[in-house]
């Protein structure tokens, strides 16, 4: 997650390394060593150590207890819920991202910059508040909450009143909160990319007699596929790892509404550290794979530009 749409990762120009510039624009050796030491110390304390700690703590008592953590039925149900949540939230935001990028990058209209700012809004909102606002809409005290449970509501049909719909403290709330926190990922990756690509290829396709959908699938999508992939992996990492927002709407019902990050919290608070870190190691692995894929896509994009 980064700032507003003006700083997409993919269009970030990476540095040509210039250690061997002319002498006048080089720092003295001791400064270079000082900077290097400070930078690596910073990376070591804040990035490498936590990552290493997750895996060592998970394997502290050997492989037996480590693998035992994954056979726990509650863990498996948490894993299923996490996968389900991501499987709904990521495609939903993918479709939205493509639609938003299409209208913003390909057309001119009033209030466009306002729309871009609004799309970025969820990144500015605390995860806890992201959960809270859904409680305010769908919770029992909320706007729609009173109508969702089974009951005798005027205005609604018999069928609807017979349904007992749970959104908060149930799976739909978790999915909604996850969609909210991962809302901008795909859109913000695609908008600058498609703006930079322009419309010429689409015009050419239309001139040659392609229909709108043909143009989209055969011209636009191949052009943006790496940006799409990039947005999707970041969106997925956040969707599977979200804690604050999901924690507010989940209700923490073991085996029912616990996602993996929430399951980690429960295990940790029960002093079941090995299991907590074992589950964490799975999510850390996901993070590492995400970073790896991301780096590969960036190299590819760089090669494409060069």
């Amino acid at each position: 997650m980064s700032s507003t749409t003006t700083t997409p990762f993919l269009s970030t120009k990476r540095a040509p390394v210039r250690a061997s510039g002319p002498r006048v624009i080089r720092n003295p050796a001791w400064v270079r060593w000082l900077f290097m030491t400070l930078a690596l110390l910073f990376v070591g304390c804040f990035l490498v150590l936590p990552l290493a700690a997750v895996f060592t703590e998970a394997l502290r008592k050997g492989f037996g207890p480590f693998f035992a953590a994954f056979t726990d039925p509650d863990m498996l149900s948490a894993l299923r819920l996490t996968l389900l949540t991501a499987a709904i939230a990521v495609p939903a935001n993918l479709v939205f991202g493509v639609a938003a990028a299409w209208c913003i990058a390909k057309f001119d209209f009033r209030w466009k910059s306002l729309l871009i700012t609004l799309i970025d809004l969820p990144f500015a909102v605390s995860p806890v508040i992201s959960g809270l606002i859904y409680v305010l809409v769908f919770g029992l005290q909320g706007w729609l909450g009173p109508y969702l449970g089974a009951g005798d509501h005027p205005w609604f049909g018999e069928w609807f009143n017979a349904q007992d719909i749970h959104i908060i403290f149930a799976v739909p709330g978790i999915v909604l909160a996850t969609i909210f926190v991962t809302f901008p990922f795909v859109a913000r990756e695609l908008i600058p990319l498609m703006q930079a690509q322009g419309n010429d290829e689409e015009y050419a396709a239309l001139t040659l007699g392609a229909t709108g959908w043909q143009t989209f699938w055969r011209v636009t999508v191949p052009n943006i596929r790496w940006g799409l992939f990039y947005g999707v992996i970041l969106c997925n990492a956040r969707a599977m790892g979200e804690f604050g927002a999901v924690s507010v709407v989940s209700g923490h019902i073991r085996g029912v509404t616990n996602t993996m990050p929430l399951h980690i919290e429960i295990l940790y608070n029960e002093y079941n550290f090995v299991a907590a870190f074992a589950v964490s190691s799975l999510l850390a692995l996901l993070a590492l794979v995400t970073l790896l894929l991301k780096t590969l896509v960036e190299w590819r994009a760089q090669k494409g530009l060069a």
């Binding site: 700083t7 500015a124 419309n199």
Partner: protein, 303 residues
């Protein structure tokens, strides 16, 4: 940026299809997922009387949590500004083995779930952890020593007695989550910085220190401030990594997002919403500032 608009006639015809469909879907989805739920918070808060609102957002425990949240977020963002700046410099200017790995690792806080980060940091910096077993006695002694040298200030109350499960732990977690922002906003600017600029400064007789502070640093300032503001905004709302390492003592190491959750668990929806609105306004103001900053820096670089 090119557009699909034929420019001449007043009633413009769009060449590419799908404008209505994509804009309609975008607005509907945005409205349903983001705007209406966010509006719910403001409408719920507006149902409170002014006096109730003030009691909810300005009670001593809430004010203490603002101080903790804003103060430590600011400190973490400052440290990220300094060290993130150095890290960006090292990544752009120097070659060393493993540079690409370090560069990729910078995004770890974006990819690692916050809960995992929280328990990992707690494990490292707690009394029995790898770093904590060395640092915690030092920290406790240091705080004690400060109180001897500079009495009159409540050092233990301000800095906390330990690292993990106290205020220093909050600082560690918030520094972690804000780490990529400064690095990632600075990197492209640093990469585009022309060596001629530094050469010119050197030719005109500036020594390296003068070049760094008077030529390079001003060039980097807009990006640096943007990265700082982004890190600050992120730290302000952070919850997942902090709760595991903060100790969560009311009035001392309780962050505002945690207080919102506490109120919710006590079914105090109005109190929670009122505090949430304060935080929302703070983050919207920050977002506005960041947008202005980026406009400013873009204009700055185009010249």
């Amino acid at each position: 940026m090119s557009t699909a608009v034929l420019s001449l006639p007043r009633f413009r015809r769009r060449v590419l299809p799908g404008f209505g469909l994509s804009l309609g879907f975008t607005l509907a989805y945005l409205g349903l997922i983001v705007l209406i739920p966010l509006g719910a918070a403001f409408i719920k808060a507006s149902g409170l009387s002014w006096a109730d609102f003030l009691t909810a957002v300005a009670s001593p425990r809430v004010v203490a949590s603002y101080k903790v949240s804003f103060g430590i977020s600011l400190l973490a963002a400052l440290v990220n500004g300094v060290f993130g700046g150095i890290l960006a410099w090292v990544l752009v200017r120097y070659t060393f083995p493993g540079r690409r790995v370090v560069d990729a690792l910078v995004d770890l806080p974006f990819a690692l779930p916050t809960a995992v980060a929280g328990i990992a940091l707690a494990a490292i910096y707690s009394k029995n952890g790898w770093a904590g077993q060395w640092l915690e006695p030092l920290w406790t002694k240091g705080v004690h020593q400060l109180a001897v040298w500079l009495p009159g200030v409540d050092w233990a109350g301000c800095l906390g007695k330990t690292i993990a499960f106290d205020r220093a732990g909050i600082f560690l977690a918030l520094t972690f989550v804000g780490l990529p922002f400064v690095v990632r906003t600075l990197q492209p600017v640093l990469a585009e910085l022309e060596p001629e600029l530094e050469e010119a400064a050197a030719t005109l007789g500036a020594n390296r220190w003068q070049t760094m502070t008077r030529v390079i640093l001003p060039e980097l300032m807009p990006a640096l401030i943007t990265g700082f503001a982004l890190a600050f905004a992120r730290a302000l709302g952070e919850y997942g990594s902090v709760v595991f390492i903060a100790g969560n003592m009311p009035m001392h190491s309780e962050i505002t997002p945690l207080l919102i959750i506490t109120k919710l668990e006590q079914y105090d929806y109005r109190g929670a919403t009122a505090i949430a609105v304060v935080m929302l306004v703070a983050s919207f103001v920050l977002l506005l500032l960041i947008n202005l900053l980026q406009k400013w820096s873009r204009r700055y670089y185009r010249v």
